[in-house]
């Protein structure tokens, strides 16, 4: 999330003073966009330089100026809203690495290891859901943010459940067996993610 687009979004509601933008940015978006408020004015100046907003007033892009979004600015905002997020996962998913490593460490009880992580994740989900239970009907922004956290955590739990079931189907195998598989897996995944 960039301050640029947050400011364009606030200006898409209508012209606003620099000071007002700063305050709205802080109060309305603070929870969702934890960004540095100090950068608001520099960003406004850059938006003006790039022709995405226009200002009117004593000049300098300061608190007393009124800012208005330009048609180019609206286009930029709409294009950004429709740009798909990066679906490539982080280069190393810690939990995946832990399981792959654990499969090679002798004496690790894999179902128990998976359960430790499952419990931890479900507990975190309980806390988010508890929060959701307290959110008033009108606070839809907060609900959306909490939902997205819940789906993210749920996906990890489902991955754990699937891993659990997959490992259960395997014939018992010992660590250090099949030492060539790791690099092969690495190469195949790199290919899938191309």
């Amino acid at each position: 999330m960039s301050i640029r687009h947050a400011l364009l979004a606030l200006l898409s509601e209508g012209p606003k003073y620099g000071l007002q933008l700063r305050q709205e940015f802080e109060s309305r978006t603070g929870e969702v966009w934890p960004l540095n408020v100090g950068q608001v004015y520099t960003t406004l100046q850059r938006l003006e330089r790039d022709g995405l907003v226009e200002s009117e007033g004593s000049g300098g892009g300061g608190p007393q100026n009124v800012f208005t979004i330009t048609p180019t600015g609206s286009d930029e905002l709409n294009e950004w809203l429709r740009t798909p997020p990066d679906v490539v996962p982080p280069p190393r998913d810690e939990l995946v690495i832990k399981l792959l490593v654990a499969m090679r460490v002798p004496g690790v009880d894999l179902p128990e290891l998976l359960q430790v992580h499952r419990r931890h994740l479900v507990q975190a989900m309980q806390e988010y859901t508890h929060l959701k239970g307290e959110i008033a009907e009108g606070e839809v922004e907060l609900s959306l943010v909490v939902d997205s956290e819940l789906f993210r955590l749920e996906a990890i739990v489902r991955w754990l459940d699937t891993a659990d079931a997959r490992l259960k189907r395997l014939p018992a195998r010992t660590a250090s067996q099949d030492p060539t598989s790791a690099p092969r897996v690495g190469r195949k995944i790199a290919w899938v993610r191309r």
Binding site: R118, R119, L121, H130, G133
Partner: protein
């Protein structure tokens, strides 16, 4: 105060000899009034078995079941049936709606069996159906309802009236997430009003509405979550990482 439902060292074996299945092994579970417990576990881990035994629909091979402090084995068949009808609301995994009755008649039935007058029973049934977004489906027969609608009618039938124990087997399995959330909010509300609830689910989002999540594996309780630390802990570093 005695627990609303308590299972002590409950085991259940189906069949015998080579076809023997140990569906439950020495399960201890106690749920207080006002508490909502979720049971999670892979398919075949014994979740439905646990629920049918808690709901007195089936007897354990060994171990004891107590409902509101009464040992079940000590009750006559009739008394057991009365306890089941009066104080236990049960949502079956496959809904079990009566095909010859409309949605609202299905929901009102347990109240009518308990002597509530038809008009009052129907009004109460309509109220619950409306809460679940089914006011317009009330006069349809089960074969005229979608899967998710049937599931919600089954839930309405379980929560209607003054139940003390709610047992629900995958009550959100056929529902989209927001309808599922409505159902879980309803179960949570019931538990906040003092009802004890046990919900079987393999959906972690639904389970996370519970005060406590119990994990089953191969018929055993292997783990459970700690009581909620409250939302403040979300702000502490490292909670979800």
């Amino acid at each position: 105060m005695s627990a609303a439902i308590e299972l002590r060292q409950v085991s259940k074996v189906y069949g015998s000899g080579p076809t023997e299945v140990h569906a439950l092994r020495e399960v201890d579970l106690s749920v207080q009034g006002g508490e909502l417990v979720a049971v999670m576990g892979p398919s075949g881990s014994g979740k439905s078995t646990l629920l049918t035994i808690a709901g007195t629909l089936e007897e354990p091979t060994s171990g004891d079941v107590f409902i509101a402090g009464h040992e079940l084995a000590g009750l006559s068949r009739n008394d057991r049936a009365r306890v089941r009808r009066r104080s236990i609301g049960y949502v079956f995994q496959d809904y079990n709606l009566l095909a010859g009755l409309t949605a609202v008649e299905n929901v009102a039935l347990p109240l009518e069996l308990d002597g509530v007058r038809i008009k009052a029973a129907r009004a109460a049934a309509m109220e619950v159906l409306a809460m679940l977004g089914l006011a317009e489906r009330a006069t349809r027969y089960p074969d005229e309802l979608s899967g998710g609608e049937s599931q919600r009618v089954a839930i309405a039938r379980a929560v209607v009236g003054e139940r003390r124990l709610l047992l629900a087997d995958e009550p959100t399995g056929a529902l989209d997430s927001l309808s599922g959330e409505t159902v879980m909010r309803m179960l949570r509300l019931a538990s906040q009003n003092g009802v004890a609830g046990v919900v079987v689910t393999h959906d972690a989002q639904m389970a996370s509405w519970a005060d406590r999540v119990v994990f089953l594996r191969d018929g055993r309780v292997v783990d459970q979550t700690a009581p909620s630390a409250g939302p403040e802990s979300l702000l502490a570093p490292g909670t979800t990482k």
